[in-house]
Symmetry: C2
Amino acid sequence: MTSAIEPHKARRLYLLLRDQITSGRLPSGERLPGEPVLAAEHGLARVTVRRALDLLASEGLVHRRPGSGTFVQGPAGTRPVVGDLPNLLSGLIAMGRATGVRLLSFEYVAAPAAIAEALLLEPGERVQRSVRVRLIDGQPFSYLTTHVPERVGLSYSEADLAATPLLELMERSGIVADRGTQAIGATLAGPEVAEALDLEVGSALIDLTRVVFDPSGRGVEHLHALYRPDRYAFQMDLVRTGDAGERRWTPASARPTKPAHLSAKPASAKPETRPRPAALRRPAP
Amino acid sequence: MTSAIEPHKARRLYLLLRDQITSGRLPSGERLPGEPVLAAEHGLARVTVRRALDLLASEGLVHRRPGSGTFVQGPAGTRPVVGDLPNLLSGLIAMGRATGVRLLSFEYVAAPAAIAEALLLEPGERVQRSVRVRLIDGQPFSYLTTHVPERVGLSYSEADLAATPLLELMERSGIVADRGTQAIGATLAGPEVAEALDLEVGSALIDLTRVVFDPSGRGVEHLHALYRPDRYAFQMDLVRTGDAGERRWTPASARPTKPAHLSAKPASAKPETRPRPAALRRPAP
């Protein structure tokens, strides 16, 4: 084993531990394994482990108590917001959280092939492409890239988009969002996104793609959204339905006209008196 | 600018590009930006960019054509499976995909505090903890850690769990899974999970936590699942409901007794004749 610090391996371990702390899997107060254990587990030199712990300590995510070990301090700032998945923004507004937006770009371009196909565009039809960063309580939490057919995009201005949610603008203009398809995955932050979301390159992000159609089946919006998982967690309630042998999960959130149902609420670091939020805490790995 | 290769920076760029290729954001046939452009974009030396491209080429994810550039080849093997989120496994079975499981561990332990709280356990109540890797067509795609109260866990054996889905075992024993709460995020693969899922450490994973309750409100299962996003994408259909000013998205998948509704199907690299799957393709960044 070498005793030279390997800064990029230290960075990798730092990112992994940071991810576990900000996600709550390593809860505040938890004692981290000792340096020799971390070194063996990750195949690293002890000095490299120490460097990773130094980085965490400099961010206030761990605290070292000489003689007793390294303890998780948890992120002091923004906590994940627990929300109903498709109605994220209206959920945040309903719970009175201050949201903001930064419009990073706004332009009309030839439709990329994948977008043209997804939105069922006519050949040669152009699109409005915009990139926005959404903030909650002043902190960036999502990076949104939208493509909208030119005929829809022209119904509002760049200034409108910098102030008002896109679906609201469209619905004001008489465009009817009727149905959509949504896919969820995970991805790594590249340099541009990392900078916009105030993150390290290589951090994990929730990746959501939604395509929205009007009642005639024409595409009206293609959204690609990236979310910081340490600032937002998607939640849904499920009920188990069906006869024996055919039992399955059904979303419990199909109550469209009752705003009180919006279960979005700030997650708290304190124990809850209600059982539901506690269900979201994860075990230490 | 230095001309020395920096292997860990090369690895980071390799991971980012790999993620974009396997997710389909860099589609097969797409020409990558030239080495000078990638070098400037990521703040790296050209030799470091070349090393990252070498790694991708050695995996067959890109192809270099001398004089014309580097082209994405896309992953030849398993494609993402598009599925209904809460009923992943039954969806896969309904579409005739061969699924398998590896039971990595099975033990009875004292309940970690977060688990005891989530499942509303009695003080001192023990749990069965198991770790499984689920395979589709012989390839690992999910890493599942479950905690089940001892009274529930004793209704089946280790051999049962290595052969049969957990909820099915519980329901056979007369335990009623009545409702649940599910949260979705994203995380980075650590060494253990990366090895089990045949991935690089630091890859992005979908992170799902589900807690299941019986009709009396007692917790019967705590599931923490990690999914490879290049082998699985969660999909849901949405409909827009409600009056003007109160419009919101509602899940369209609440049709519990109709197995044909299971929209899980293999995503194809070829253009589809139906509009829906195309909606999931993402634009090049």
